[in-house]
Symmetry: C2
Subunit: 117 residues, 2 copies
């Protein structure tokens, strides 16, 4: 398997579907001037977070996210983030806009096969 970094930073790629009828509202929620949960991400050692959108050949919209985790316990930070009331409210707004992959509840973490520093 490829994609191992040696700098202690974990690089996470994720995918989820985006409902056509929710695209405009989703974009508004994620606009540069929307605070959203940006402060909570930073507090839990999540940084350099990008979300991209693309319509794929099946005719549907997908979102692809990339972020870097710079803390020492990703699972603990994700659990603590998930327990933050403001993050729960945020997901309650965003989740219905998305189409998780079959078997998933939300974003699906993808396998990394290449990494070049």
């Amino acid at each position: 398997m490829g994609g191992e970094a040696t700098d202690g930073i974990r690089r996470i790629g994720m995918v989820v579907g985006l409902r056509d009828e929710a695209e405009a509202a989703y974009r508004r929620l994620h606009a540069d001037d929307e605070p959203g949960v940006r402060d909570l991400l930073a507090r839990h050692h999540i940084r350099n977070f990008s979300i991209f959108v693309q319509r794929l050949p099946d005719g549907r919209l997908y979102e692809f996210a990339y972020y870097e985790y710079v803390g020492s316990d990703l699972e603990a930070d994700l659990a603590a983030l998930g327990a933050e009331p403001r993050n729960r409210a945020w997901l309650a707004a965003c989740d219905p806009m998305q189409r998780p992959l079959p078997g998933a509840d939300s974003w699906t973490v993808m396998e990394r096969i290449y990494f070049q520093p």
Copy 2:
């Protein structure tokens, strides 16, 4: 539109299909111990390059790439990279393994809608 960074780094997300029958060979070419064109990417100011793979609900494999451009002229660097004989040989090996999206020749650059430093 969201996703604007203020640090001068351009963050690019791309997508392309990966042919099932080529997956093993593609992974081998991109393994950590394969030099590939890593030196050429660095020379042309491309860094922090990750590729992820995921099978989507249409039953097909897709690749998602993320990289950062730290030079001052992305288009010029991409053109110079594209003219490097070793990069041409690299693409001649990789391109047949991939399924570009309809209307594309290779990777499709995606729209970024969110960025959190």
